[in-house]
């Protein structure tokens, strides 16, 4: 698992921006991989996955599919995302940041 840069992923923290962006890109690629292979995707999402891609609006997940999708992400990244934090995650970018926090927590 790629670890470089994951420790510094917090938004709005000056001086950590560059490593943060690199980490985001790597995470977003892996998230896109999960989206493509995810069984529950109602339409095969053929669009480009960007930090702005909305999990509910663009990927068209209903409330249960969001939870199943998060579970697939948890397996891919070997993290836990508590259920009550899921509503804070609107976009793929939010998810990437959340994952960095988690991985940072593991290392720390």
């Amino acid at each position: 698992m790629v670890r470089c840069g994951f420790v510094f992923g917090h938004r709005g923290q000056p001086g950590h921006g560059v490593t943060g962006v690199l980490a985001d890109t790597i995470a977003i690629d892996r998230i896109a991989g999960v989206i493509r292979s995810f069984d529950g995707t109602p339409m095969a999402y053929s669009g480009v996955v960007t930090p702005e891609t909305s999990i509910v609006r663009d990927l068209r997940f209903d409330s249960l599919s969001v939870m199943d999708f998060v579970m697939a992400i948890e397996t891919e990244f070997d993290v836990i995302i508590p259920i009550d934090r899921i509503s804070e995650i609107e976009t793929v970018g939010d998810l990437a940041h959340r994952l960095q926090e988690q991985t940072a927590g593991k290392q720390g």
Partner: protein, 420 residues
């Protein structure tokens, strides 16, 4: 304010526009027995209840209920912690504890309230709840009400559970794993022996909700924990009175020290009226009947096996486990609605389960059997479904029937051991 339910409104209008009945809007004119009712003036067979032992019309249960009604009145009008505990409530708790071989039991007004009451009382701010992904709404709601961190693990996957426990590492707080004996949508059972092994290694606590498995699994009907031989690893047993026991209510039983403290820590126990005396008496009599008459469970399994084998032979895709709940997987909600309605026209009531309320977003025709169904009635259901299936293009015509395996038929009184 109801604007936000726009999507529900659209979905329900779509249901009403279809020909036939709306499954959410069925009102039986008369209930004739645990397995028959009147709808639109016609007799229909009930294959969509949770009346597993058929005890809702049992003479002894009705007699006990009537006696309590006459002696103690129509309701307690109070909470368990105020004026709402009668002798019957306390006696029922002792009866349950004795039956489950636990030190203490507490009775809630519904099974839903048992989960919504017990989970927040057990798990606090620093604790961690790990729920099976297919958990019932009452478990999710109870978890949400608690201050604990909640995570769901892949359905019936002890490895994913172990992974999450490992990730929690040595963070402070207790871990409570929550699983069910039989899952209500597909009717599959938890791999409880493996889950118990994970629990032992991790030092977590384990709660098993035996809602659909009490009276159904285990040599004496104590549930999946008994059947899997791991009662010693289960810290909290939750159950309901509204299925095998034919009433309404719920309970939690445990050997935990100071268990009775939970009576002052469970809001859903305290801030609600207690079960009416007639229901307490009926449930108590049903529990006694269940204990005294293991043949009820044998009959239930005979019927469950017959239904499962029949549907498999007809070519339907059903769940992995034989049990009183047999769900047929259908390709989409529209088909499921159509099949459900055509079955109802044929005089057979079943349940419909549609996404997003179903695991994996599947469309399910959920059927369930009772101990008192006649084999001929089960054959009728299979025939009708097969006919509809052929007609609707769901089944290929003239399939050679697969040989039904002996081990599918040779079940002993509800005893189903899961290999460790």
């Amino acid at each position: 304010m109801l604007e936000r339910h726009r999507a529900l409104k659209l979905a329900s209008e779509r249901l009403r526009d279809e020909d036939g009945h709306n499954p959410f809007d069925i009102a039986f004119e008369q209930i004739l027995s645990p397995t028959e009712a009147l709808l639109d003036g016609r007799r229909i067979l009930l294959f969509g209840t949770n009346n597993y032992l058929g005890l809702t019309f049992d003479e002894a249960c009705i007699r006990a209920s009537i006696a309590a009604l006459r002696e103690e009145g129509t309701g307690t009008t109070g909470s368990r912690i105020a004026n709402g505990t009668y002798g019957g409530h306390a006696a029922l708790e002792s009866q349950i504890a004795r039956f489950l071989d636990r030190r203490r039991a507490m009775v809630f007004t519904t099974g839903y309230q048992a989960n919504v009451g017990i989970l927040p009382a057990l798990a606090g701010r620093d604790d961690h709840l790990l729920l099976d992904a297919d958990s019932h709404a009452s478990i999710y709601d109870g978890a949400r009400l608690s201050d604990a961190q909640v995570t769901r693990f892949r359905h019936n996957d002890p490895d994913d559970l172990a992974r999450r426990l490992r990730l929690l590492g040595d963070r402070p707080g207790n871990r409570l794993i929550v699983v069910e004996g039989i899952y209500s949508m597909i009717g599959d059972t938890a791999p409880l022996a493996e889950i118990a092994a994970v629990k032992r290694e991790s030092g977590a606590y384990l709660l098993v909700d035996e809602a659909h498995s009490l009276g159904v699994l285990g040599a004496t009907g104590r549930g999946l924990a008994e059947a899997a031989g791991v009662e010693g690893d289960v810290d909290f047993v939750v159950g309901t009175f509204s299925k095998s026991l034919g009433g309404v209510g719920g309970f939690c039983a445990s050997d935990a020290d100071d268990f009775d403290l939970l009576r002052l820590a469970s809001r859903a126990y305290m801030f609600t009226a207690s079960i009416p005396p007639a229901t307490v008496a009926g449930v108590s009599a049903a529990l006694e009947a269940m204990i005294r008459r293991p043949e009820l469970r044998a009959d239930l399994w005979r019927n469950a096996t017959r239904l499962h084998a029949g549907l498999v032979r007809a070519g339907f895709t059903v769940g992995p486990d034989i049990g009183p709940i047999v769900s047929v997987v259908l390709p989409d909600p529209g088909t499921a609605m159509r099949v459900w309605n055509r079955l109802l026209e044929a005089g057979l009531y079943t349940n419909l389960a549609l996404p997003p309320a179903t695991p994996g977003g599947r469309s399910l025709l959920r059927t369930s059997v009772s101990a008192i169904h006649h084999p001929a009635q089960i054959d009728r259901l299979v025939e009708a479904l097969a006919e509809i299936g052929l007609d609707d293009g769901l089944l290929a015509p003239a399939r050679p029937a697969p040989i039904v395996r002996r081990d599918e038929l040779a079940l002993v009184s509800g005893q189903r051991a899961r290999s460790a």
